[in-house]
């Protein structure tokens, strides 16, 4: 599966124009390096010879406030792994290094993981601490790269053919695709919202009550290995917490195609009434996917109780359809 990894670099029109200008400078073999404004003090830039390969455009997204310093030595771009790029993708010499001396070439890699999951690795050394949105079909969430420009997450494959797309705030994009054979064995319930909404999915499996073993929620999320062993479902939380205006998601995944018993999983949504949302409409989006087939995605507005109810929870049992499990 790893050999199927591929990435492509796509830039929006404006960025592409700006970077084409840089490409001209590079073809003049001007040695360059850049240090972003957020780079740590004392980072020593690397000096390597430039290899003007392929003559393509550079599509490393740039922070407009970042200062660019051109050094004296040429830079060397990393060799691309054989067969790893899309045939029509613009192969590019990466003539710049990050603050830590790593080549800027951003990568997005994904591989199937147990429990119908996908392990995603994003590496964008020249995009440290930047917001990006990761999209898979109807699912989208916002997170931030680390100080070294890395990000890793394991998320459910929502269909057998998974297409992942990462978009940074400046419009530059990375994408990859892979096939996850066991994705069709899982049902998913997805709740998405923006910011600190305080929403959570609660699943009561096979007659469990609140607080019992079969009660799955963000407070007791379990993990994919639980589902891989056909013991029950699990919750995946996605998106950066504690940041306003980021897109977040909670997914409950259940191995319906693996279960040796029939029964019912009751699903409810809880929304905490907070000083920030009381008396207002809380926007969210729900999607249910059964055996790889998505039902219509629905935008939801929860009319939150007034502010005298702060601290209470709005419990909605009919918002998500319960999962009916048939014995396999």
């Amino acid at each position: 599966m790893a050999s199927q990894r591929r990435y492509s670099l796509i830039a929006s029109a404006t960025v592409l124009t700006a970077l084409l200008a840089m490409g001209v400078m590079q073809s003049d073999a001007i040695a360059s390096r850049f240090v972003t404004a957020s780079a740590p003090q004392g980072a020593t830039p690397a000096h390597q010879p430039v290899e003007t390969a392929h003559g393509g455009a550079l599509s490393v997204p740039r922070d407009p406030e970042a200062s660019v310093v051109f050094g004296a030595a040429p830079l060397r771009a990393p060799a691309l792994p054989e067969g790893s790029a899309e045939p029509d993708a613009r192969r590019t010499a990466q003539p710049v290094l990050s603050a830590f001396g790593l080549p800027c070439t951003p990568r997005l890699a994904a591989a199937p993981a147990p429990g119908g999951m996908v392990a995603v690795q994003l590496s964008a050394p020249c995009e440290p601490e930047r917001f990006f949105t990761l999209t898979q079909g109807d699912l989208a969430f916002t997170d931030m790269t680390s100080v070294t420009g890395d990000f890793a997450v394991t998320l459910p494959a929502l269909s057998q053919d998974v297409a992942l797309d990462v978009r940074f705030e400046d419009g530059s994009r990375l994408s990859t695709a892979l096939r996850v054979e066991d994705a069709a064995l899982f049902d998913h319930v997805i709740l998405q919202w923006q910011g600190e909404a305080g929403l959570s999915i609660h699943a009561l499996e096979f007659g469990a009550r609140y607080g019992e073993k079969g009660h799955v929620s963000a407070a007791s999320p379990r993990d994919p290995s639980f589902a891989a062993r056909a013991l029950g479902g699990f919750i995946t939380e996605l998106g950066a917490r504690d940041l306003n205006h980021t897109r977040r998601a909670e997914i409950y995944s259940f191995p319906s195609g693996l279960m040796g018993r029939s029964g019912l999983v009751r699903l409810s949504v809880e929304a905490e009434v907070t000083p920030a949302n009381c008396g207002q409409d809380l926007a969210a989006r729900s999607t249910q996917i059964r055996a790889g087939a998505a039902e219509p995605s629905v935008e939801i507005a929860l009319a939150m109780p007034d502010c005298s109810a702060v601290g209470d929870y709005l419990v909605l049992k009919n918002l998500l359809r319960d999962l009916k499990i048939a014995r396999n």
Binding site: R266, E295, P296, V298, A303
Partner: protein, 523 residues
């Protein structure tokens, strides 16, 4: 002018019995070109038709024939269809919202669901790239009775019901000017379910007879030992007395006697409580069995009734539960009419199936799949039904397949029940769509075993003819000779259930539909 007058007189004819409340005169509708005009309060506008409350009662006027003046006139440019769906939670909690969402998606509309709580929410549907919505659909979930109340007060466009209207409710509807509500087009079955006796998975009892279920409800049996279980009290669970389902169970089985019973507001809560208690017995449904287990229903002579989608469609399961939608006898907004049509399409029926309900699509089973019934017929043979009669039946049906479409009658009458009335329309639609072109449909009448065999044969023949005629009348677009239709009657020859019980006899009184191979020449 002509349009106005026609609508005027038609509306008077329909609504003349309704008392006119004194209301603000907020619209005046004038016939284009002058002449007649009507003033009153605008009740609704569906984009095509005005409904106005006037001193004569509500009138419906074609918008293309009149000009509207006054503060109550709708903005014709930004018309939004507003539809209220009310009634039983059984349909309203999951199935109807899902069907509406799927319909909106099929029409390419964006969907927003605004939720106040579990029982009150509304949808706003709009076209992508357009600011103003196309339709707003409000859901108010409660009981069947509450839904019928909203229908009588004209506060709902679509009412969800877990049972049919009672005679008293129909009388009240006529009183309120809603005549003809029982016409199949007004009360229409959209999905089927079955009443079920639910127990915890570990309960050792496998089945109950209908007589035992009745005895439990009446309070005559209170210990599992009397039902083949452990020596322990039966802990009863039922829905609230005002729920449509509990009323249906009371009608079909027996009202609950003065005994201890835990009442639930929802089927989910009932099923969860039953699943946790090995001593519990709950009166719920097959679809909402949750983690509980439905008991087999045993006929009077010891055979279990078949359950599953096939048996429920054919009403061979004794406690089938048609789920219905009622609409008021007035023109609904165009969006609502489109949605109701969508419910009969294959994608909608597939969603109904995927949600655990039984859909209405006719299925087929060959004679060879009727082994149990043939065995029962042979056991039943004797002086009343001689061997020759059975041989005649097997010869007549050889090579034919039985449709799940079956027609049954209300207790002690020759009136078709709700599921069967819908079956008339569905079979007629299938005929018009050419599904049985070049084939032969045989309407086969059967009766119960009460009375003389010859009389029963005659009764079953009459019923088969009446059903065939009703289907033929409903299939107006079917060309003459496109499908051959004939009748057969075998009286009490092939009973579905034992005759000892009233329910058994009701199941046996039926008209089945069998489909012959193409270009069949017999009969």
């Amino acid at each position: 002018m002509a349009i106005l007058r026609a609508a005027f007189s038609a509306a008077l004819f329909l609504f003349v019995s309704l008392a006119a409340p004194a209301a603000a005169q907020d619209v005046t509708l004038s016939a284009k070109g002058g002449g007649l005009s009507v003033s009153g309060t605008l009740l609704s506008f569906d984009g095509e038709f005005y409904r106005v409350q006037t001193e004569f009662g509500p009138l419906v006027l074609d918008g293309s024939g009149v000009d509207c003046s006054g503060p109550g006139c709708p903005d014709l440019e930004t018309f939004v269809a507003r539809i209220t769906v009310a009634g039983d939670e059984m349909l309203g909690a999951e199935l109807m919202p899902l069907l509406l969402e799927a319909y909106a998606q099929e029409r390419g509309l964006k969907i927003r669901r605004i939720v106040s709580d579990d029982r009150n929410f509304h949808y706003v549907l709009w076209e992508e790239g357009s600011g103003s919505p196309v339709a707003e659909i409000a859901f108010h979930l409660g009981t069947t009775v509450q839904g019928f109340g909203d229908l009588l007060r004209d506060q709902a466009d679509i009412v969800m019901a877990a049972r049919e209207m009672t005679r008293e409710e129909l009388a009240a509807a006529r009183e309120a000017g809603l005549g003809g509500l029982k016409a199949a087009a007004r009360g229409r079955v959209i999905a089927l379910d079955g009443l079920a006796l639910l127990v915890a998975p570990e309960n050792p009892v496998q089945g109950l007879s209908l007589a035992q279920a009745r005895a439990v409800r009446a309070g005559l049996v209170a210990n599992w030992a009397d039902l083949g279980g452990a020596d322990a009290p039966i802990v009863l669970h039922a829905l609230a007395a005002d729920s449509g389902l509990e009323q249906a169970i009371s009608n079909r089985l027996e009202p609950l006697g003065g005994i201890a019973v835990t009442r639930h507001q929802s089927l989910a809560s009932l099923a969860d409580a039953v699943a946790r208690d090995p001593l519990a017995l709950g009166f719920g449904t097959l679809t909402e069995q949750g983690n509980a287990r439905p008991l087999d229903l045993i006929g009077a002579c010891g055979r279990a009734f078949p359950k599953g989608a096939h048996a429920i469609k054919a009403e061979d399961y004794p406690l089938t539960l048609p789920l219905l939608l009622y609409t008021p006898p007035r023109r609904l907004p165009k969006f609502a009419r489109g949605f109701l049509r969508y419910l009969n399409t294959a994608p909608a029926q597939a969603l109904i199936r995927a949600n655990g309900f039984v859909d209405l699509d006719a299925e087929r089973a060959p004679l060879s799949g009727q082994g149990d019934r043939l065995a029962a017929a042979i056991l039943n043979a004797g002086a009343e039904v001689p061997l020759g009669e059975l041989q005649r039946m097997v010869t007549a049906l050889a090579g034919y397949e039985r449709l799940t479409t079956t027609f049954r009658f209300e207790t002690g009458s020759s009136v078709l029940d709700a599921q069967s009335r819908t079956n008339v329309l569905l079979l007629a639609e299938a005929l018009e769509a050419g599904r049985y072109d070049g084939q032969t449909l045989v309407f086969v009448g059967f009766s119960d075993g009460e009375g003389a065999a010859a009389t029963n044969r005659q009764i079953s023949e009459n019923r088969a003819r009446r059903v065939r005629d009703a289907v033929r009348r409903a299939a107006r677009a079917l060309p003459e000779g496109g499908v051959r239709m004939r009748t057969e009657a075998f009286g009490e020859a092939m009973p579905m259930a034992c005759d000892e019980s009233g329910i058994g006899r009701q199941i046996n009184r039926r008209v089945e539909v069998w489909v012959g191979p193409k270009m069949d020449q017999d009969g």
